[in-house]
Point group: C2
Chain length 446, copies 2
Amino acid sequence: MTDRSPSEFWAQRQGLRSRPLAEAPAPDLRQERCSWTSPGSAQEPVAMKSNEFPTRTLYASRYCSDDRRRTDVFELLANSSGARRGRLHTGHGIVETPAFMPVGTAASVKAMDPGIVEELGARQIVCNTYHLYLRPGHRLIRELGGLHRFMGWSGSILTDSGGYQVFSHRSLLQLSDEGALFRSHIDGSRHLLTPELSVEIQRDLGSDIAMVLDECPPYPCSEEQAQSAVARTTDWAWRSKAAFEALAESGNESQFLFAIVQGSVYRNERLRSLEDLLKLDLPGYAIGGLSVGEPPELMLRTLEWLVPEMAVSKPRYLMGVGRPIDILESVARGVDLFDCVLPTRLGRNGAAYTLEGRLNIKNSRFKRDEAPLEPFCDCSTCQRFSRAYLRHLFMSKEILAAILLTTHNLFFYLRLMKRVRAAIEEGCFSRFYEDLVPRLAEPHGN
Amino acid sequence: MTDRSPSEFWAQRQGLRSRPLAEAPAPDLRQERCSWTSPGSAQEPVAMKSNEFPTRTLYASRYCSDDRRRTDVFELLANSSGARRGRLHTGHGIVETPAFMPVGTAASVKAMDPGIVEELGARQIVCNTYHLYLRPGHRLIRELGGLHRFMGWSGSILTDSGGYQVFSHRSLLQLSDEGALFRSHIDGSRHLLTPELSVEIQRDLGSDIAMVLDECPPYPCSEEQAQSAVARTTDWAWRSKAAFEALAESGNESQFLFAIVQGSVYRNERLRSLEDLLKLDLPGYAIGGLSVGEPPELMLRTLEWLVPEMAVSKPRYLMGVGRPIDILESVARGVDLFDCVLPTRLGRNGAAYTLEGRLNIKNSRFKRDEAPLEPFCDCSTCQRFSRAYLRHLFMSKEILAAILLTTHNLFFYLRLMKRVRAAIEEGCFSRFYEDLVPRLAEPHGN
């Protein structure tokens, strides 16, 4: 520990005080440093930069011998201590990874103008098949030119399959091999979500990345439950792929379908799920069924033995994760993509992330506090408003409170990812990780 | 009527299609055309440009022979058919009049980032003494550097006296010559709002224009009620002025205190109120107690005989008005300043102003409508989003619906004022008025 504040420390270290993070251009790693990604050396093994983080290694697994550095959708640029620096090539632009995707459930990142989401540096958001299927309907969105045009978002969009919402809304009526029968939370109407329908909806939405329908068991669940969910998830993944390919001719050439590994926290089930799904040879693999209530340590242990078995050349997406600390820990274990409602939801509820911990703006100690939410933060909220004003807005139930806190929280997440990427590029992720972990422990700022 | 759509018509007429209204620089009228405002001719009478709008004339009244063209706070630049083009000089910038002031009740124009309010072209907003006194408290705001700094608004601020809210919240417990005893709508606590306290609060807030505390009777009210309210309002105005002057030494040299004329719709009472208040020689005069439920025609008739009696050299502010049509009609009768919650409140409730009438975005006929809220509108909402998307956001209760509709509505109001000012400058207000009145009749777009 130094006597500088954590935010000063990071600001100085990253040399980012004087320019907003969102404006810093991403270096062209392929040109500048990563000669091993040039076409002539495409089959070269990934060179580990150092041994500074010895517990995690990046290697081609026994299940997947694929050691290509570049697929259609993903390019692996560098790694540092198990963390990977990559690039997702989507139909709506490049996404530098590790990346955090803000969640725009019903075609809106809550309380945010899409122009601001873009300014904050987000390049890919997650939208929700379940919600958009029920309202306003996927066919309507297709008629209106697809989801990007509908919601005025020119960046990349990943849509989930709707499975998670069907399970988590407690609206599930009946689960069978055919699909999930559920009751709409809007009007009580009954719908059967099948793998084929989910793919069709996501095709109509025109997202850049679609997810297969999976069965996501709760935590805790028995090994038998996990086993059954894995089997069904594999079966549904094959059906999804078949449906996806059958629809491929009808437009959106650039959409990619990602698989989802299930298996709860059972090693055998997870590895079997992965092994089965790798046979589909899909361009990306997600890890589902984590961050559903299990202790964070258990999630991380699961990642430790699961991620190294995943394809090196393909993006790894940890669904619904999570807190900044979870993201940092998961990046250290080789994960590339994240999404979570926390920064937006907590923002609406009056909580703000800072490098000194999470703070709750309702707290009366902020009543006269002239400081910004987070000292030295470059976001447009911290540059203009005091905690005292934000507290007043929140206590007065002003919509502006949600806008300004969400802006800050998304900035916090996206800045974290930018610094993570820089640390990997510079080969110093291990030091970055060790410095940051104690500062992201939360909540202690309340 | 032409066969062009009204919005096309106005767009073409005003030559404003290709540039946002907010960016068009205001011409320096004093230099370019209005030689009668030059220092040497300050005592010259206002030259009526034409007789095109013969029913209203601008003249110095029998109560006020003041025909100066420039006071400390106000400068009269031009007039056309009874409508006045002026300029308010405040401690936080110039406000071109006729002007509409968005309402920021609790130190936030609801659902709006102050940066956007400024981008939309607002130069002065109205904040609320009643609300800010109760929460977070005027002393706290003073401690934190005043209202401008607190809320991050660098433009001008007018604060009302709190009287209207005390009466309209049905929280009034007892009204006496001393002041208004009321119960807080937040925590039920009891407070006595006196003219002196109101001035003190507004001093602490540091607004650019403060209003005297007045008694605002409901509509309908008896002539005796009106008479009593006028007498009390006059008494309170003298006390307000004394308190204001006593506090003048303690900072904020640039704050101005405006009087409020009461008298309901009774001619004798209104004229008596005006005559009494003119003796205070305050720098601005407001018309209170209108738009409180009386038929719009009655309000306009009241303005017709009241406004010509008001001081020519001083700004005239019609409080709480109103619909676009009311504003246009009142400008035609010589009013300079307006404020109203309609554009923000209706925006949050799903209503949008257009030159083809008001539309309610909830209406199912917009479900597949790819058009913007208002064709040819240059606002950031209409430039980017369809009615179908806005309807979806509203039906999904997304905060973004409130943000985008409020943005459009404020743009609509501020664009109207910009065109009003241009028409007066060009001496063609009468034609402008006649063309626009039928188009502002509402609601017919639902």
